[in-house]
């Protein structure tokens, strides 16, 4: 079985998701999703059944007074236009409501107690308080009736109750109610129709949209390991780690120079090759790693030259009778020589060979079996071609299998 076949048969075990990915995908994403749905639901509710009322009506009851005055700004509290309805406690009394400036109202009320409408205590309740105008009463001969005063910009009177409509855009107008008699009681209602309603749905929509986007991001981009992303960004050429195959670009190699260098050191390398074989045979995991890290690269021309030379040698050996092909080969033959490790400088000008695998008995290399060119060449050489991201252990197994 070749390495490729084994690789195809063996299922690739996917890498287990990191802790970060699990948290982002199975905790953060669902939470954000729920938030997004909740926001959208709340937005829809605020835009429909929870939509703020356009009509605002606030009421209050007053008693023990003749005059009721709204504070400046109360008429336009909710909207510029207001409808004010006063219902007197005495159905026969004439009730008047006038709109005027605060200084005029203060002049009319000088020295007189009255009830202030100070604003809203709730959306449906007017807040009131008792007060007394400063100064002395200016009532005297020649006074005009409340409804006949020149000071009011508008005034309306009726028996039992009255309704007036007013606008107050700059808080300059107030309403003065004359209940027609002292110590009277009345119910006062102010109604506004809001021209612009507060939009409480939009913030929910925005929050829902943002949450949805974040949910998608947390399930995808944010679930990726930060380190990997940063490494790709900062280290575009990933350095192989120990135990992983060395990927060598054949196009980047000067095989002629390698050949010359190998020739110059052929003699010394022959000795070193024996030592290296011994070292490798003795080697444990480290030696295994060294071997598996190296991947021989042979060009097509070199391969053909090798075949030709091999055929000649085979012919010579046949002609000469017997010739022991004691060739201790190493996968380091085509690897870049390591100056620090003489064992790696194993020259193998004759061709390719395989180093012993870890665990094999430490013994001199057995005599090479009769060379069978077709079998040896393809099964063995294919494994020597660069393999991407292939575990070193698998490669070692393949090498042994190839033997």
């Amino acid at each position: 079985m070749t390495v490729e076949e084994r690789e195809q048969e063996e299922p690739q075990v996917p890498a287990a998701p990191s802790r970060r990915a699990r948290i982002m995908r199975f905790v953060v994403t669902p939470i954000l999703g729920v938030i997004a749905v909740a926001c959208i639901v709340l937005g829809v509710l605020n835009a429909t059944i929870w939509k703020p009322d356009r009509d605002i009506t606030a009421e209050a009851s007053v008693s023990g007074t003749r005059y009721v005055v709204t504070d400046p700004g109360v008429l336009g509290l909710v909207d510029d236009a207001v409808t004010m309805t006063v219902t007197g406690g005495n159905a026969e009394a004439t009730v008047c409501t006038a709109i005027g400036s605060m200084k005029d109202v203060a002049g009319w009320l000088s020295g007189t107690p009255y009830v202030r409408v100070t604003g809203l205590s709730e959306w449906t309740v007017l807040s009131t308080t008792d007060a007394e105008a400063q100064g002395e009463s200016l009532a005297g001969d020649g006074d005009v009736a409340f409804a006949d005063s020149d000071m009011w910009t508008s005034v309306a009177c009726d028996t039992g109750g009255v309704t007036v409509e007013a606008t107050d855009e700059d808080s300059s107008r107030v309403a003065l109610v004359d209940l027609g008699e002292d110590e009277a009681s009345a119910d006062i209602a102010m109604q506004w129709v809001r021209q612009s309603l507060p939009n409480y749905a939009l913030p929910f929509y925005i929050g829902g949209g943002v949450s949805a986007v974040l949910a998608v991001l947390s399930a995808t981009v944010l679930a990726m390991p930060w380190g990997g992303r940063r490494k790709r960004e900062t280290e575009p050429e990933e350095q192989p780690s120990d135990g992983e195959p060395t990927i060598v670009d054949p196009a980047a190699r000067n095989l002629v120079a390698d050949q010359l260098e190998s020739s110059d050191t052929a003699e010394a390398a022959a000795d070193a090759s024996e030592d290296a074989s011994g070292d490798v045979s003795d080697g444990g995991d480290d030696a295994d790693a060294d071997v598996s890290d190296q991947t021989s690269v042979i060009s097509q021309d070199e391969l053909m030259a090798y075949f030709a030379r091999f055929a000649q040698e085979d012919t010579k050996s046949d002609a000469a009778g017997t010739q022991d092909a004691d060739a201790s080969v190493s996968t380091d033959a085509a690897a870049e020589p390591d100056a620090d490790d003489p064992a790696d400088e194993t020259p193998s000008p004759e061709g390719l060979s395989f180093s012993p695998m870890p665990g094999e008995p430490e013994s001199p290399a057995p005599p090479a079996p009769p060379v069978d060119i077709p079998e040896l060449s393809f099964d063995g050489l294919v494994t020597m071609l660069p393999q991407d991201d292939e575990p070193s252990a698998a490669q070692s197994d393949d090498v042994k299998e190839g033997e």
Partner: protein
């Protein structure tokens, strides 16, 4: 058990918060305090001024139609009430009011006060009359907040008189005080000095402080004529002009001056000589004198409503009378 309670509590809290998010009408609005400019806003709108003016003119028209001044007090006060009652009395004798009593219904300009207190003053300048009489300066006053604006005085503007500029009614004008400073004279001083000028003519020590005007010319001319007639009969005549206390209305113009309208009463005493009787000098005086018995001396009381423009002190201008009204209100033999 504890876990269940915690769960229920959390559920209740969640429901409460959710409901709190919904069915909300928003934050309760707070009344915004009126800005300080509100106190400087005009006391009346132009619409209110028109309503007041219309009510006043209707009151005058009704009194004129009825030739009865009893109802005038509702909308007329001050020197104007005396003038109009006198005019009605004269009108009864002459068959109608003199044309000088006509008040146009349309106005050209109104000067609305911004003051918060009382009394308040408002000026209105009318158009010319249908018979091309000069414009009228109407002076309204509101003495108390429980009373309405009333017509206090009317001055017929002199031909060619230049009134000072006032701010538009939408902004309003500040009322002046009788003792305003920064002027060539305080308003009260200006009125008193003008009364002296009317009485003494060019002999007044204040004559050079006032520009010449038609009222001074008319009074001087009539007095000269009467003087000449009385001298032929060895008689005498004299007029005294007195500013009426507190009968003064002031509005500040935009150039820093004051437009002052004041009441100056005058008594014209004519004593005939040589045992003769002193008789009324005009149709109005005769109408007012009525069936009275003439004596050697006749005293006629006039109400003079004068409008003076008192310029700022550094303007270098003279005080100018821009309009006036002069009507006899009482004729008596003494």
């Amino acid at each position: 058990m504890r876990t269940r309670m915690t769960t229920m509590l959390a559920a209740a809290l969640a429901v409460g918060l959710t409901l709190g998010l919904g069915a909300c009408d928003g934050q309760l609005p707070e009344p915004q305090a009126a800005s300080a400019e509100v106190d400087q806003m005009p006391d009346l709108t132009p619409e209110q001024e028109q309503k007041i003016r219309t009510a006043v003119l209707e009151t005058l028209d009704k009194a004129t139609q009825d030739m009865n001044g009893e109802g005038l007090g509702v909308r007329v006060t001050g020197p104007m009430l005396e003038v109009r009652n006198s005019a009605i009395t004269v009108g009864k004798a002459t068959g109608g009011l003199d044309k000088t009593n006509t008040i146009p219904t349309d106005m050209m300009q109104t000067v609305i006060p911004t003051d918060s207190g009382w009394p308040r003053t408002m000026y209105t300048i009318t158009t010319t009359t249908e018979d091309q009489q000069s414009q009228r300066l109407l002076v309204f006053t509101q003495d108390s907040p429980r009373q309405n604006y009333k017509l206090w005085g009317v001055a017929r503007l002199f031909p060619g008189a230049q009134l000072p500029r006032f701010t538009v009614p939408e902004i309003g004008t500040q009322m002046g005080l009788p003792n305003d400073t920064g002027l060539v004279a305080t308003p009260q001083e200006a009125v008193e000095r003008y009364a002296d000028v009317l009485q003494n003519g060019s002999n007044s020590e204040f004559a050079d402080q006032f520009a010449d005007d038609s009222l001074r010319q008319t009074i001087a001319s009539v007095a000269q004529t009467v003087q000449e007639g009385m001298e032929r009969n060895n008689g005498t005549q004299s007029q005294t002009f007195t500013a009426v206390p507190d009968a003064i209305k002031i509005m500040r113009s935009s150039d820093g001056g004051d437009l002052v309208v004041a009441q100056i009463n005058s008594e014209w005493t004519r004593a005939a000589g040589d045992g003769r009787e002193s008789l009324p000098a005009s149709d109005e005086e005769e109408a007012l004198f009525g069936d009275g018995t003439a004596t050697s001396t006749m005293k006629v009381t006039y109400v003079n409503i004068v409008a003076l423009y008192v310029p700022p002190e550094d303007s270098g201008e003279q005080i100018t009378a821009v309009g006036a009204e002069r009507k006899p209100i009482k004729v008596e033999a003494v």
